[in-house]
C-alpha cells in the first residue's frame, strides 16, 4: 500500500485516474437530472482550470479564495489551485461582505473563484480596499452580463484559455515541485471570540488524516456521500476532498439548498455526516408528520418504534438479542423502519457521523434504533477534524469515542483536553502569537474543551468549553453548556443560553423552535401573527417552564452540577442569529456578545422584575438593519432539592 504515498492532492487525483478513471467521482443534480463526471473527466476539468490559472499569472504560493455553494466545479477549483501550486482558501458562502473582506485581505488573495452573482457582488462591494485581489473567476454567469469584465472572467473561459495554452510542461513542474509539507489548504475558523484565524494545513495533515480515518471506518471506492455542508468548514474539506480522493468515492452535490431532502433520498449516501441540528430537525419533521398520519399508521409506528428502541441499538452493536425480538424487529423493518429510512434517504448508510455539538440521547437513539450506524466524533479545524471517534460496536450517546488512529490524548490538570496527531495544523497564518498559545513546541494542542477519559472504556467525555466552566458564588461548579444541551434536547427549544458564573443562582434565555411550537399552536388553535407573539404566548411560557423544571430535576440528580439549576428564564423575542453576530457561522452561541447585547435582560432576570421592555437591533438577510421592540415576561421555575452540595475542587 505504502510503496510511495502521493505527496499532494493533485498527485492522489492522478493515481485515481490511473486506478479507476471511468468510475464516477462527482455528481450534481442539474436540470432535474444527475449529471456525473468520472475521475478522468474531473481530472481533465481540473487540469484545464489549473492551466487557465497559470495563463492568468498565478504564482506558486498564491492564495486563491473560493466562495460558493457545494458544486463539483467549486471543488475542482480547490484542486486546480493546488495543482497550480497555489493555496485554496474556501470561505463561508453566507458570510457578510466585511467578513469576506477580512479573509481576502488577511490572506492576500490574488484570485477569487465565486459561485454566482451574489458572491461576485459581495466581493465587488469590498474590492476597493483590497489591493492584492487581481481577478475574479465566476462559475454561474447569470446576471453578470452587464458587469465590467476587465478583472473578471468566467470559469469556462479560464478553462478554455488553459486548454488553448501550451503550458503543460510548466504545469507538470508545478505539481512535481510539491512536497508533503507544503500547504494543502487554509481554512478560517469561525471563532467564538475575536477575529477568525487562518488555519494552515499541510499535505501531510490532510493526506495522513484522510488515510487513517478512511481505514478506521473501512471506506471504499463505490461509497457515496452528499456534499452539502459549507465548503469552508474543515469537515467538508476532509470528507469531500481528503477522504473522497484518498479512497476514491463519489461526491454528490445537491441541486440547490432547498432540494436537499429529495436529493438525499435519490442518492442514498453510504457515508454521511450531519450536525446534531440536522438530525434534530429531521426527527421533528417525522414526529409532526406522524401526528398527522392515520390511526393505523400511527399505531404501527408507535408499536414498532417501541420495539426498535428496546432492541435496535443492541442489534446494531452486535450484542445478542432474543429470537422473538429479532422477529419483531424484522417485521418492523419491513413495515416501518425500512420505509422511514428510505424517506429520510438513510437506507444505505454504512457509516454516519455527527459532531460539533452534543446530540440529545433521544435523538441519537432514535436513529440508532432504526439500524442507522450513527456515531459521534470529536474534532476541530486545527486537528484536520479527527481527535476522537467511536469505533463500530462501541457507540454511546454520552461519549465522543476513543482517540483516532495516530492521535495522542492528554488531559491537563484543569481538565482541558490536549492532543497531538499527524493532522495537527502547521500554524495560524500570520499569527505566530496565537500559534504559540495553542500549540506547544512538542506539538501538543489545547482544544479549549474540558473533559475526561472514562475509566475502563477509554472513551473521551466532553463537559464544556474550558473557558466557560466557572464557579457559582458558593463555589459549586458552573457548566452552562451541560444544562443548555439538556434544555435543547426538547424539540420546543431551539437555543438556550445560561448565565450564573459568580452569582448565587442560574438563569437562562430560551429561543423557541418555530417549527415545533408553530405546529403545536396550529394543533391547539392558537393564533399568532409573528414569531415574537408566539414566543411570548402564556401557554408557550407555561410549556417551557415545565421543560425547565424537568431539566432542573435531572440536573439536581448529579451532586457535582446541582448548582446549575435554572431559577428564572425568559423567552427571547428574536431568534439568535449569525447575521446579528449572536451565533458563529457554524451556529455556536457567542456568550460575550449576547451578554453585552442583552445586558438589560440579564439584569431583569436578577433584579426581581416581572417583565421588561426592550429594544433590539436586527440585521435582515440583505444587510439592512431594523429595530424590534418587545415586553418580555420573566418566568420563575421551581428548583429541585439537592441531597448534598459539593463544592467544585
Amino acid at each position: 500500500m505504502t510503496i510511495s504515498t502521493p505527496q499532494s492532492v493533485p498527485a492522489l487525483l492522478a493515481r485515481n485516474v490511473a486506478q479507476f478513471g471511468d468510475k464516477p467521482a462527482y455528481r450534481e443534480k442539474e436540470y432535474g437530472i444527475w449529471q456525473s463526471w468520472t475521475w478522468a473527466q474531473a481530472a481533465a476539468e481540473i487540469d484545464a482550470l489549473a492551466t487557465g490559472l497559470l495563463t492568468l499569472g498565478a504564482n506558486a504560493g498564491d492564495h486563491i479564495a473560493i466562495i460558493g455553494r457545494n458544486r463539483p466545479a467549486m471543488y475542482w477549483g480547490m484542486v486546480a489551485a493546488q495543482k497550480a501550486g497555489c493555496v485554496p482558501v474556501p470561505l463561508y458562502q453566507d458570510a457578510a461582505a466585511e467578513e469576506v473582506a477580512y479573509a481576502l485581505d488577511h490572506c492576500g488573495a490574488r484570485f477569487a473563484i465565486a459561485g454566482d452573482q451574489e458572491q461576485v457582488d459581495k466581493i465587488a462591494d469590498v474590492r476597493e480596499g483590497l489591493t492584492q485581489l487581481e481577478h475574479v473567476i465566476y462559475l454561474d454567469g447569470r446576471g453578470l452580463r452587464k458587469y465590467d469584465h476587465s478583472a473578471m472572467t468566467s470559469y469556462a473561459d479560464v478553462q478554455a484559455a488553459g486548454r488553448a495554452s501550451n503550458m503543460a510542461a510548466e504545469m507538470e513542474a508545478r505539481v512535481a515541485a510539491q512536497t508533503y509539507d507544503d500547504t494543502c489548504v487554509m481554512l478560517y475558523t469561525s471563532g467564538t471570540t475575536g477575529r477568525p484565524k487562518g488555519v494552515v494545513l499541510s499535505n501531510r495533515n490532510i493526506i495522513e488524516t484522510s488515510k487513517n480515518s478512511s481505514e478506521f471506518d473501512h471506506l471504499r471506492p463505490g461509497d457515496e456521500t452528499v456534499a452539502y455542508l459549507p465548503m469552508a468548514w474543515v469537515g467538508d474539506f476532509i470528507f469531500s476532498i481528503g477522504q473522497a480522493i484518498w479512497t476514491g468515492f463519489c461526491v454528490n452535490c445537491p441541486e440547490s439548498e432547498h432540494t436537499l431532502a429529495t436529493d438525499l433520498r435519490e442518492i442514498g449516501p453510504t457515508y454521511y455526516f450531519a450536525p446534531p441540528r440536522v438530525f434534530e430537525n429531521q426527527l421533528t419533521q417525522v414526529m409532526i408528520r406522524m401526528e398527522d398520519a392515520g390511526r393505523v399508521k400511527k399505531w404501527l409506528f408507535d408499536r414498532f418504534m417501541a420495539t426498535a428502541k428496546r432492541v435496535g441499538p443492541a442489534m446494531l452493536d452486535g450484542t445478542s438479542v432474543g429470537l422473538l425480538d429479532r422477529l419483531k424487529y424484522a417485521l418492523g423493518d419491513v413495515l416501518v423502519y425500512g420505509p422511514l429510512k428510505n424517506t429520510l434517504g438513510f437506507s444505505r448508510i454504512r457509516v454516519g457521523y455527527t459532531a460539533g455539538e452534543a446530540i440529545g440521547p433521544e435523538i441519537f437513539d432514535f436513529y440508532r434504533s432504526l439500524g442507522i450506524n450513527l456515531k459521534q466524533l470529536y474534532g476541530q479545524t486545527e486537528a484536520s477534524v479527527f481527535i476522537t471517534q467511536q469505533p463500530d460496536g462501541e457507540v454511546r450517546g454520552d461519549t465522543v469515542g476513543v482517540a483516532s488512529p495516530g492521535v495522542e490524548l492528554k488531559i491537563a490538570e484543569n481538565g482541558e483536553v490536549f492532543y497531538r496527531s499527524p493532522g495537527t495544523f502547521v500554524e495560524y497564518y500570520k499569527n505566530a502569537e496565537s500559534t504559540a498559545d495553542t500549540k506547544d513546541p512538542e506539538g501538543w494542542v489545547a482544544t479549549g474543551d474540558a473533559g475526561f477519559v472514562e475509566e475502563g472504556s477509554g472513551h473521551l467525555r466532553i463537559i464544556d468549553r474550558a473557558k466557560d466552566v466557572g464557579k457559582m458564588a458558593d463555589g459549586s461548579l458552573f457548566a452552562p453548556k451541560y444544562v443548555e444541551n439538556k434544555l435543547k434536547f426538547f424539540p420546543n427549544v431551539l437555543e438556550a443560553v445560561m448565565f450564573g458564573n459568580g452569582r448565587e443562582e442560574c438563569t437562562a434565555f430560551l429561543n423557541i423552535d418555530l417549527t415545533a411550537v408553530g405546529n403545536w399552536a396550529e394543533r391547539n388553535n392558537i393564533a399568532y401573527a409573528s414569531y415574537q407573539e408566539l414566543a411570548g404566548h402564556p401557554q408557550v411560557l407555561e410549556t417551557l417552564r415545565a421543560h425547565v423544571e424537568e431539566v432542573n430535576r435531572s440536573v439536581a440528580a448529579d451532586p457535582m452540577l446541582a448548582g446549575c439549576q435554572v431559577y428564572r428564564f425568559l423567552v427571547l423575542h428574536k431568534q439568535l442569529d449569525a447575521d446579528d453576530g449572536e451565533l458563529t457561522r457554524t451556529q455556536k452561541v457567542r456568550r460575550k456578545i449576547i451578554e453585552e447585547k442583552f445586558g438589560d435582560l440579564i439584569g431583569a432576570l436578577y433584579d426581581g422584575s416581572g417583565e421588561i421592555y426592550t429594544e433590539t437591533e436586527v440585521t435582515y438577510e440583505d444587510g439592512r438593519k431594523g429595530q424590534i421592540t418587545a415586553t418580555l415576561q420573566i418566568v420563575d421555575a421551581a428548583v429541585a432539592p439537592v441531597a448534598a452540595r459539593m463544592a467544585a475542587q
Binding site: Y31, G32, G143, R145, K146, S256, T262, D622
Partner: protein, 272 residues
Amino acid sequence: MKDSVEPYVTADGRTIGPVMMDMRAITLRFGGVEAIKNISFDIREGEIRAIIGPNGAGKSSMLNVISGFYHPQEGEVWFHGKKRPKVKPYQVARQGIARTFQNIALFEGMSVLDNVMTGRLGHMKAGMFAQALWRGKAEREEVENREAVERVIDFLEIQAIRKTPVGRLPYGLKKRVELARALAAEPKLLLLDEPMAGMNVEEKEDMSRFILDVNDEFGTTIALIEHDMGVVMDLSDRVVVMDYGRKIGDGTPDEVRANPEVIDAYLGVAHD
C-alpha cells in the same frame, strides 16, 4: 428618444431595437362604457415597458387587447411592422406573445412541472395519437420540451417545488410558477399583469430580479402592469400612464414622474 425608431443602447448596456408592437388610436367599448379612449403607444424590441394607472384606468383591458383577447372597436394593432388582423388568443400565442394573469390562472391540481410544461404546447407538433402512444417523434419532443422547461425551472429557482401540486403553494410562489409557464413558451413579448400584487418586500425583490434577468439573458421584450410605483420606476425603460381610459403620460420614468397631470391623477400629490 421616444419618437426615434433608431435602435439605441441603454445606460446599462442593453440594445433597444425597432418598434415591435404599435398600438394606433385604440378605442375599446363595453356597451356604453369606454374602457380605452383613443390611445396610441408602442413597445420596442428589448425594452421593459410599463403601463400604470389607478384602479379602473383600463390597464388590464389594454393588456387584453395586446394579447388578442379583446378586439378594439376602433384603432389598429401593428405587430412587427404589419397590421394584425382580428385574431384568436392562441394565434397570438403562436406569434411569440405570452402572458401572466392578475388573478393567478394555473392548474391547481397539477404539479409545477406539468403546469410549466403546458407553456410548451405551442412547441409540440406531434399528433394526439402519436402522443398517446408516446413513440418516436412524440418521445423526442417530450424530452426536448422537458429540457427547455428544466432550464426555466433552474432559472427561476423553483427546483424544490418541481413535483409539488400548485394548489399547495403559497401565493408568491404561484406567481413565480406562472412566470415560469409564460417563459417556457420562449416568448418574444412577455405580458405581465401585476406580477407583484400581494407580495411582500422580499418576494417583490426576487420577482424584480427575475424580470430584469429575463430581459437581460433572453432579450425578451416585457410589457407589465404594476401598482407599485417604486418597482415600476426602477424596472422600466418607458412608462405609459392611463387614467379613466385616457393616456395622460408617456415617457421615461423621470419624464413621467415630472408630469403634473400624472402626479394629480395617480400619485395624488398636490402640486402648485
